[in-house]
């Protein structure tokens, strides 16, 4: 069935230059495999559309039940150059949690 990512995960986002980072963390360790399967770099990029101009990288931290995403060229130049209201990507974590994912009844 389809559920919002926010049902099984929380997130925090920040910046390094023009790259935003989004950490997505499963509330329960047993849901980490769902994150790995469902929250792919391609889906993250598609979710934000034009906001992310560059590529999306993903790193796994199974010890924390977490994924770390780097969204390149997503902050309007970053730092002091950016003209965006969210120049540091502070809200992107909350934005990613609205992603709709597929999860089976049994694995939830």
């Amino acid at each position: 069935m389809k559920i919002p990512l926010s049902r099984i995960a929380h997130a925090r986002s920040g910046d390094k230059g023009d790259t935003a980072n989004v950490g997505v963390i499963a509330y329960q360790e047993k849901h980490f495999p769902i994150l790995v399967r469902e929250v792919t770099p391609a889906r993250v990029k598609a979710h934000f559309g034009d906001l992310v101009k560059g590529h999306v990288e993903r790193f796994e931290l199974p010890n924390l039940g977490a994924l770390n995403f780097l969204l390149h060229e997503s902050l309007g130049g970053g730092g002091t150059l950016s003209l965006r209201v969210d120049a540091q990507g502070k809200t992107l974590g909350a934005g990613l949690l609205t992603l709709e994912i597929e999860a089976g009844e049994a694995e939830l």
């Binding site: 925090r12 980072n21 924390l64 730092g79 502070k90 934005g95 609205t98």
Partner: protein
């Protein structure tokens, strides 16, 4: 075990936090992080205007306020408040808190050495673009090397009450007392990585104790009196993250995990001047109310290069806003944006970028924002950036007229024309470690 508390996540953080950390329970070290990447350039400008300035001006008054408590409770302070003028900072601390012994760490400021370093063949190329520093040399405003924990530990060994550094890393502030008290050596990578990760967890202040926490945020108690973080560090490299009893906020597995992921790049290779740290080795354990135990951390050797924080004058920018109400608020804001752009075009003004957002619709999340075709009101926000200050200045005249000569219901222009701001950009680069040597200067009470 030693207790290391962080009372400042950035310059501008809550003024009461460090005072409460000293007053509301036992700590051994109070660390204060004042510097962001761009802060050094602001401080450099202040120093050029007045040779007695160029440091975090909040810091000396704080020392004056808590000096007697620091002595009473034997709390030592470590702060990167020195900016580009750590000696002036130390002198001001001595003036307002004469009973304190102050040690200053020098050597991070390479602004006066830039030409000599370039002549010796160090390109200091931009880590993102690859361009050599020579392409912007005339516009450089400040240049500092990131200093690690060992020079800070050396300063603590002088018996100083207050250690003032310039551009030390945030994590070094927390690691330094562990190196000093536990005698950790430069090749004890796992321990240094552990202290570094402890520093990463606390470096943004209350962001690990319930601040900006998404996990069940509405249930986090008493945020008005949020407790700032305390590391209970052990000689073996394990530690507990906690806060003072009776303070607000929450230290939980969730709050600590969120902060561990904050501003993280490759988790296998977190690079600092002291070591590399592996975030996939971290083991977290619930250790009771508002306590999280951290262990298992592995690290690797320090890299041969140090990171530089260089700032340079880039150009100018301005951001103007107008509010439009329902009905058709979004369409009105879009029409106003088209009008502004057409008028700027007619004037022949050139900008590096014109960027428009509609707040209340989709500015933060783009297409991921929930659909809402009829918001009660939106804020049109147009920003421009470029090298020509005159063009930016002219732009700031183009929003107000729309109140009378554009789409209906424009309001919210009470503050007048938006200010033109200088854009100071950041130039990340590397330099061989052996070119940076530090020294300590001590001011006796």
């Amino acid at each position: 075990m030693i207790r290391i508390a962080n009372g400042q996540g950035f310059w501008g953080d809550w003024l009461e936090a460090p005072v409460r950390l000293v007053e509301q329970g036992p700590i051994d070290y109070l660390i204060l992080d004042y510097l962001a990447e761009i802060t050094m350039s602001i401080l450099q400008k202040q120093k050029e205007a007045d040779v007695a300035l160029g440091y975090a001006r909040d810091f000396p008054p704080l020392m004056g306020r808590i000096a007697s408590k620091l002595r009473q409770r034997n709390v030592k302070v470590i702060a990167n408040a020195g900016g580009v003028n750590p000696i002036a900072c130390a002198l001001e601390v001595r003036r307002v808190a004469p009973q304190l012994k102050v040690a200053v760490v020098l050597g991070d400021d390479i602004f006066p050495r830039l030409d000599e370093l370039m002549a010796a063949g160090h390109a200091m190329a931009n880590m993102e673009t690859g361009a050599p520093l020579s392409t912007i040399r005339s516009r450089v405003l400040s240049a500092n090397a990131y200093i690690g924990a060992f020079p800070l530990a050396e300063a603590l060994a002088t018996g100083a009450d207050v250690v003032i550094a310039g551009r030390s890393t945030d994590t070094a502030l927390a690691l330094a007392p562990m190196v000093h008290r536990f005698g950790w050596k430069p090749d004890e990578f796992d321990k240094l990585a552990a202290g570094t990760i402890a520093g990463h967890i606390v470096e943004c202040g209350a962001q690990c104790t319930g601040g900006n926490c998404q996990a069940d945020w509405k249930s986090i108690p008493d945020m008005a009196n949020i407790g700032y973080p305390i590391i209970e560090a052990e000689p073996d490299g394990s530690f507990v993250i906690t806060k003072h009893h009776g303070t607000g906020g929450r230290v939980s597995l969730d709050s600590v995990k969120e902060q561990l992921l904050y501003e993280l790049g490759d988790p296998l290779n977190y690079i600092t001047p002291d070591c590399t740290a592996d975030f996939t080795s971290i083991r977290l354990k619930d250790d009771g109310a508002d306590r999280v135990r951290v262990s298992g951390i592995r690290g690797g050797p320090r890299t041969p290069m140090l990171k530089l924080s260089i700032s340079y004058a880039y150009g100018w920018k301005a951001i103007g806003t107008l509010v439009y109400s329902t009905p058709e608020a979004i369409e009105k804001a879009q029409a106003a944006d088209r009008i502004v752009r057409e008028r700027l075009g007619q004037l022949g003004l050139k900008f590096e970028e014109i960027y428009t957002e509609i707040l209340g619709w989709n500015a933060c999340h783009g297409k991921a924002a929930p659909a809402n075709a009829n918001p009660a009101e939106v804020q049109l926000r147009i920003g421009v950036r470029g090298e020509d200050r005159k063009a930016i200045d002219r732009f700031t005249r183009e929003l107000a007229p729309l109140v009378l000569n554009g789409p209906p219901t424009a309001t919210g222009f009470g503050d007048g024309r938006p200010p033109v701001r200088e854009v100071v950009a950041y130039w990340p680069a590397l330099i061989p470690r052996e070119l940076i040597s530090t020294s300590i200067e001590v001011f006796e009470p």
